[in-house]
């Protein structure tokens, strides 16, 4: 063994030094390249940009080399050549040169010295003036005046020379006008390529500087470095279809109204805005980051951080649909959500025993979707025994007032049947109630299918219902039609005979029972008691009004802050192959709520894929607002409620199920907000009495049998309150001559209005029938509508043709001339 002081540590030092150098090199590489993947993306972006410009240049060149363009170009080029030659040959060139030289000479030899003289004299004048102000002697004045005279003389000489020069300049220019003209004409041919070349040189002149882009908004506690990779996000044009080079989709909505420098990215899209070292980290899709990025339309979950209401926001369609779904499909019946009204979407079941047949009730409870495709009631997946118990319980709930015979009855009085059918048609029941797969076009109205309805309900109940729906179900969307008893009876007769479930009849006949049988059945009290327990357990009272359950609380959890629920708190139960994220869990829960463990009560809903996306988006939006107050956008809603007698009629007839006034209602039927300015009063009253056929069959307004007084109330309100002050009468519309009408007709046909409007029976039926436009519409409305169809609502289908005033006037006159008598077409519905 060597002594310590004789040992050499060189090897150890060498190894340590090597390690140190390697680590150093790695550290520098990591710092410059490794943890900065955005540099790569930025380089790719710039090269894509250059490629794009090169492609554009290629295209331009191709276009330029195309035969047509070349021909034109050559023409102009030749003209230019000719002009140039002429210039040379005709001696213009010589004159040009001579003029140029002369101008030069005059400038240098004559003008300059003269100007020098002039300034010299002027200076002397100034000097004299100053001296004169000092001593104010007469001599000085004389000298001063003389000098001033000299100065003005010199000035006039100079002016003369300048005038000569100007004249010569003009002559010179006149010689080259042709050449200049052709050169100007030539420019547009090559301008695009030149511009592109310029852009290319700018980009390639020096290497683009790669840098981190950061948006720092202290108010939102945000530091977003997203743009470091997504370089093209706010460009005017997208340079590629692939991320991260794409431009922001829908930028005319999103970036225009939310400029990047004021909002950043993560306030909507979440994710880890400050991260730059890897894609997953930046998107927040790593363990322990609680807010992974919301991609695409899921980002709409963030709209309500600032916007109080989203249903009128372009770009927030998905979350608005979710908001609508959660009320209309009954989610709020079991789950409390702050800010959403608790509405019981189902009909009251308090006396359902005297309304529906026992058999139908059992079939319905088994699977509502089978009975009625548009059914909102979800499938509770009850066992047969449970179904019997519940049905027994409901059977027990009846007053015993009505004669509970099922309506189905094929053998009826023929005359009543016919009259009933006419009433059925004029009342346009088919608009809301589908039958045999047609009709039911009104969105968000879930009226029962009529195809087999007679086998479902009791005849007496149907009679009472048609007479006054709101007596049974105050929140119903069905209007109160004001039928007389006789009319109602005829209708019931028709429906009883027409809408029979023949399959069930066949079944019953096989089983040997009569077709018409009693609805009521004596229910077993023990079973009914079990049924009551089940009703309480499954929370049926959340959607249906049931006697005895008025004070019960909702059975589901409160969802007000579900969007911020941490994934550790979600119960994955026995499901093993589900990804551990909030989004996955929520989607799985919506699609199959009971998969996680036994004993879950949430039923299975029949949503479409789009619905599911909207609901997930909505649920994500359920969290606290964390933005500062100056980011809030208050809803610009009026909270309209129709008042007074008009309001009562509207409520009775449920006008706003189809129509819209201000911010309330639907858009199946026309928006009535400014109806008073749109239609003439006389026509309006006629229409209310007996609605014209302006629209195709499944869109026509029913006949409500209003009394004269009611019609007056409605017409008064509409013409006085629902007006737009900006649409004023146009006195200068002038006389309607046949010439004007002819021209208007020509424009009508030229522009192709008959694609969407009918006059008589020709044309399309996207817009209303114009046969009675003169009777119906005010001329000022016609003019305004033709000029700017989107004035009263940006989603109006009619296009804006960009017509000028003259064309508009002719068209207006033509349309104002269309009256019922003239066209001779109208079928007034006057049963």
């Amino acid at each position: 063994m060597k002594k310590e002081e004789q040992k050499s540590y060189v090897l150890m030092y060498a190894i340590c030094a090597a390690i140190l150098i390697i680590v150093q090199a790695w550290a520098i590489w990591n710092e410059v390249v490794g943890k900065r993947p955005w540099k790569d993306y930025q380089r790719k972006f710039y090269s894509l940009l250059i490629d794009n410009i090169n492609d554009d240049i290629e295209e331009e060149k191709k276009r330029f080399d195309g035969p047509d363009v070349q021909k034109e170009y050559q023409e102009v080029a030749q003209k230019l050549e000719k002009a140039k030659k002429e210039f040379k040959m005709s001696g213009n060139q010589n004159e040009f040169n001579k003029l140029e030289e002369a101008i030069r000479n005059i400038r240098s030899k004559e003008l300059s010295p003269l100007q020098l003289q002039l300034s010299d004299i002027r200076n002397r004048v100034l000097e004299e003036e100053y001296l004169y102000t000092k001593d104010r002697t007469e001599e000085r004045k004389v000298i001063l005046d003389k000098l001033k005279e000299e100065a003005s003389e010199a000035l006039s000489i100079v002016e003369k020379v300048k005038a000569r020069l100007a004249e010569m300049q003009e002559r010179k220019i006149a010689l080259t006008t042709q050449i200049e003209k052709y050169e100007e004409e030539l420019k547009p041919f090559v301008a695009p390529i030149n511009k592109l070349q310029e852009r290319l040189t700018l980009l390639t002149r020096k290497r683009p500087s790669l840098q981190e882009y950061q948006i720092h908004i202290p108010a939102l506690n945000e530091v977003d470095r997203c743009k470091s990779c997504h370089l093209g996000i706010d460009r005017d044009e997208s340079i590629s279809d692939k991320q991260p080079f794409k431009k922001h989709p829908g930028s005319y909505i999103f970036l225009k109204n939310h400029p990047l420098k004021d909002f950043g990215c993560t306030v909507c899209h979440e994710g880890q805005g400050g991260a730059t070292t890897s894609v997953e980290k930046a998107h927040g899709e790593v363990e322990y980051w609680l807010h992974p990025m919301l991609r695409g339309s899921l980002a709409q979950a963030s709209c309500i951080k600032c916007h109080e209401r989203t249903d009128d926001l372009p770009g927030a369609e998905m979350v608005s649909m979710g908001q609508r779904l959660v009320v209309e499909r009954g989610c709020v019946g079991c789950h409390d959500v702050e800010g959403f009204p608790t509405v019981k979407i189902g009909p009251p079941l308090t006396f359902v025993g005297e309304k529906v047949s026992y058999k139908w009730l059992k079939t319905w409870l088994k699977d509502p979707h089978e009975t009625y495709e548009k059914a909102r009631m979800p499938n509770f997946m009850l066992s047969d025994e449970e179904i019997e118990n519940i049905a027994d319980f409901f059977e027990g709930l009846s007053r015993g007032e009505l004669e509970t015979m099922i309506a189905a009855d094929p053998d009826v009085d023929e005359e009543k049947y016919q009259r009933g059918m006419a009433l059925y048609n004029s009342s346009r029941c088919v608009i809301c109630h589908p039958r045999e797969g047609r009709g039911g076009a009104v969105k968000y109205v879930y009226a029962p299918d009529h195809t087999k309805i007679a086998s479902k309900i009791s005849k007496d109940w149907l009679f009472r219902w048609i007479k006054n729906p709101q007596a049974y179900h105050p929140d119903t969307k069905m209007p109160h039609f004001r039928f007389t008893d006789k009319e109602a009876e005829e209708l019931v007769t028709f429906m009883s005979a027409e809408f029979i479930d023949w399959d069930a009849v066949d079944e019953e006949e096989e089983e040997g029972e009569e077709v018409v049988k009693a609805v009521k059945r004596d229910s077993d009290p023990a079973s009914a008691e079990k049924g009551r327990e089940l009703v309480k357990n499954y929370g049926c009272y959340g959607c249906h009004e049931i006697k005895g359950f008025e004070n019960e609380s909702k059975i589901g959890v409160e969802l007000t802050s579900f969007g911020s629920k941490s994934v550790e708190l979600l119960d994955f139960g026995v499901v093993k192959d589900l990804e551990r994220s909030w989004l996955s869990w929520t989607m799985a829960k919506l699609k199959d709520p009971r998969q996680f463990r036994e004993g879950i009560r949430m039923p299975k809903f029949s949503f479409t894929d789009e619905d599911f996306d909207a609901l997930v988006c909505l649920l994500k939006s359920f969290k606290e607002r964390t933005v500062p107050v100056n980011y809030f956008v208050k809803a610009t809603t009026v909270g309209y409620e129709p008042q007074g007698k008009f309001g009562k009629i509207v409520e009775d007839l449920n006008c706003l199920v189809c129509h819209r006034i201000k911010d309330k209602g639907a858009n199946f039927a026309p928006d009535l907000t400014y109806e008073g300015s749109r239609v003439k009063r006389e026509w309006l009253e006629d229409f209310l009495r007996a609605p014209d056929i302006l629209r195709p069959l499944f869109q026509q307004m029913p006949r409500f049998n209003l009394s004269e007084e009611e019609i007056k109330i409605v017409a008064d309100y509409i013409t006085l309150v629902l007006v737009d002050d900006e649409v004023i009468a146009r006195e200068d519309l002038g006389e309607i001559t046949s010439d004007n009408v002819e021209r208007g007709k020509k424009i009508y046909n030229e522009k192709g209005c008959q694609a969407c409007h009918q006059i008589g029976i020709e044309g399309g039926a996207v817009g209303p029938n114009l046969s009675v436009a003169g009777d119906r519409l005010t001329p000022e409305y016609i003019y305004m509508h033709l000029k700017d169809p989107q004035k009263w609502g940006s989603s109006n289908v009619a296009p804006n043709y960009g017509l000028d005033d003259e064309e508009l006037t002719y068209l207006t006159k033509y349309l104002s001339d269309l009256r019922a008598k003239k066209v001779g077409f109208l079928w007034k519905n006057t049963n």
Partner: protein, 257 residues
């Protein structure tokens, strides 16, 4: 350059007033001036003027004490650099660490070396202690140094503990919560410890309160941890390290010489 001009330059420089005011003694190669160079220098006078080469045997000491000290220097330097980017407030602490990671040049490696260095220092300290024990270097006359060493161990652990909270994440917050909850069970001075109540200790005036600056782990706790971690404990540790090294030199190596 030829030697003559070298010598001349050297002559001129070393006889200038500036040179003489900085370097008090001549630097010719005599034994005396070599000794004086060590003894008369602030940074070096803690070192012995000469050391036998075999005293540096790695096998005997494993050099762990030196490594620990080296780590301490790195941690201090790194810590100072980190302090430029760190705000000890509850709203900013966590995000500053994130920014160090993603945005600051070399911030990732700076923060990571500081963190790993802290862990390593604890390990090397323990290995050092183990070595000292195995070589019997705690025996007479080195008992006092051993005691100083133990106190240094405690302060090293405290440095780790206080530094852990500064990232203001779940790990740190709960670690400190557990630690200070243990503190409240101390006899006499903790409000949940034996005889604490009798002495009038409550959650708002016991030793836990003193440590946290409050009754919860919040902004005050963070600030106090910051002050302990960056100023108070390093000062104490520096002082104790000085004493520790001084005793090592004075007592000499316990190993084979």
């Amino acid at each position: 350059m030829d030697k003559k001009s070298d010598a001349k330059i050297k002559e001129v420089v070393t006889s200038s007033q500036i040179w003489k005011s900085i370097f008090r003694r001549k630097h010719d190669d005599t034994k005396r001036s070599r000794v004086l160079a060590i003894v008369g220098n602030f940074f070096m006078h803690l070192h012995p003027i000469s050391v036998a080469r075999h005293a540096l045997a790695l096998k005997f000491t494993w050099c762990m004490g030196g490594v620990t000290f080296l780590l301490f220097l790195f941690l201090t330097l790194g810590g100072v650099l980190l302090m430029f980017y760190y705000h000890p407030t509850t709203g900013e602490a966590y995000w500053d660490i994130k920014d160090l990671h993603y945005s600051v040049p070399f911030g990732k490696i700076l923060r990571n070396t500081h963190r790993w260095g802290g862990h390593l220092m604890v390990i090397t300290v323990m290995v050092h202690m183990f070595r000292v024990f195995m070589t019997g270097s705690y025996k007479r006359p080195r008992e006092f140094n051993w005691a100083i060493g133990v106190i240094l161990l405690v302060f090293t652990l405290l440095l780790s503990f206080t530094g852990y909270l500064l990232t203001w994440d779940q790990l740190g917050m709960w670690a400190i919560t557990v630690g200070t909850n243990m503190a409240r069970a101390t006899p006499f001075i903790g409000h949940e410890g034996p005889f604490g109540e009798q002495l009038g200790m409550t959650a708002h005036n016991d030793v836990r309160f003193a440590l946290l600056g409050g009754s919860v782990v919040g902004a005050n706790a963070l600030l106090r941890a910051y002050v302990w971690h960056c100023i108070a404990i390093p000062l104490i540790v520096t002082f104790l390290i000085g004493v520790h090294f001084w005793r090592v030199r004075k007592d000499g190596f316990s190993g084979s010489l």
